[in-house]
């Protein structure tokens, strides 16, 4: 079945003559005539009654014309859908974020995106770095916010900001009154770290190599919030990213103290597939991050 033949048929129904229909369709009369004959042959029915000196649609012809109109309408709507979708800032955008950043960045990021790209609807996928890498690769997410380094073939990144780490101790801990702490003071087996798989665990261990970190020990937490509660409960001290300690996450049960400069930190970046078709949406996210006011991290 050819869409052109359907258009010819509808034109014939509207014009009531082969010649007029051909004119309307910008084809010659024989072209349209033959095309309709073929359509009838293909469907195995007679759509047009050809009489000496007069032609008209058959009863069935009218039914087919009606259905053909619907089909043509739906195909026209394909073009409309494509046209609407041409705006790269319109439609859904699937954004992955690592667990140790999501809760502390997203509320403000989403608010900023509403201003930068109000028609972009963010779907958030929170996970761990390794999984997000796969998601990115296979297109499950369009982009991801992760911590560098993030060197994956075919994936591009753009640094967003640096996030310093801070030491977290329970109220009344000997460190609690100090203004700054050197990283070498964070050591021993009472330092709580995240469980394996969270990239932040490795980043902390890199920053404070003297932490004792037997994997599977009771001094591991599933999430930053768990660790914070464990610190508050006196299980030990920890090192957490600044964003998880400021703003609405500040509380009275724990005390956070900056490291001595140069404070250990991680560089947070946006990552996306090289072939991603909406670079403008990537730009919008970068711009939205830059718009966040009073962030608990260091703008680049």
């Amino acid at each position: 079945m050819k869409l052109s033949a359907l258009r010819y048929l509808v034109a014939f129904a509207d014009e009531g003559s082969f010649s007029k229909a051909a004119e309307r369709c910008h084809v010659s009369q024989p072209t349209l005539s033959v095309a309709l004959q073929n359509l009838e042959t293909e469907l195995g029915v007679s759509l047009i009654e050809r009489n000496k000196g007069h032609v008209a649609l058959t009863e069935l012809g009218w039914q087919v014309v009606g259905q053909a109109r619907k089909a043509l309408d739906e195909t026209r709507r394909i073009e409309q859908v494509a046209q609407l979708g041409k705006d790269p800032l319109h439609g859904n955008f699937r954004l992955g974020v690592i667990h140790t950043i999501g809760p502390y960045l997203l509320p403000e990021l989403i608010a900023a995106m509403k201003k930068v790209a109000p028609d972009t609807h963010l779907f958030i996928e929170e996970s761990m770095t390794a999984l997000l890498a796969d998601y990115l690769k296979y297109g499950t997410v369009d982009a991801a916010i992760i911590a560098l380094p993030f060197d994956i073939p075919g994936i591009k990144t753009h640094a967003l900001y640096d996030e310093p780490f801070e030491v977290v101790v329970p109220k009344g801990h000997p460190f609690a009154k100090r203004k700054q702490i050197p990283s070498c003071d964070v050591r021993g087996d009472d330092v709580l770290v995240l469980k394996a798989g969270n990239c932040f665990r490795e980043q902390v261990l890199d920053a404070c190599p003297e932490i004792s970190h037997a994997e599977g020990s009771t001094h591991e937490g599933h999430s930053i919030e768990t660790v914070r509660c464990m610190v508050a409960s006196g299980y030990g001290i920890s090192v957490l990213p600044a964003a998880s300690l400021g703003g609405i996450y500040r509380n009275d049960l724990v005390v956070s103290i900056p490291f001595e400069t140069p404070a250990p930190s991680r560089r947070v970046a946006l990552a996306w597939r090289q072939g991603f078709t909406r670079p403008q949406a990537i730009e919008a996210i970068i711009q939205a991050v830059g718009m966040i006011e009073n962030p608990s991290y260091l703008h680049l």
Copy 2:
């Protein structure tokens, strides 16, 4: 836009790979690959994100696929409509009837058609012979029941039955007690006839040439029912077709008397365009007329 490209796109959405989609569509991988590239170019958007080692639909791609499915569904339904319509006894049939036959034949004809072709839905168009001829010609009706002769180029006819005429007089009229009347007795200026345009008027004047028939006189009626009422009211006598005098149309205000044999009559026929595409429906009507029991006319 090509329907094949839409099918390829949907197949790709289902299979997630060019090769598998090509296999499903029974075409080679390059064919499908190129077709989708062309579709993207035509729509001016990117539907598929091509990465090294991995391809996937874009957000917009999914939207277009959804719309493409609808369009393909509607085109498939065209074939279904055609398939259903292949039954020539299914669907609408527009039947024209002249005024002087319609009310007296249709009730029984419609009942008979319900048995012969229950899926044929009759649309009735009641009019005068000349108009029906045009309707037939231009396809406004599919067939017409008229009185012979009806010689029109491109129109075929099939005689259905002979309908004798009868003399109608008011109760108490001198003719009322006679068993038979010779046509020469029907004469003068108190014979009521139909107005010009009704073919039955000419048929009566042919049968009884001695009727005085100044056109536009007060002795003309618009319809058989009007004439019957005029006879009942004592305006004169008339000649009417037997079918309008029997059955439910028999009443006590007028008396109908047969003509002497050979009684004047008219031959009623079915007429249709030579090129009409559903001859089976024509056959069904002829058969339905033959099925009518106890008709007020003479089966051939």
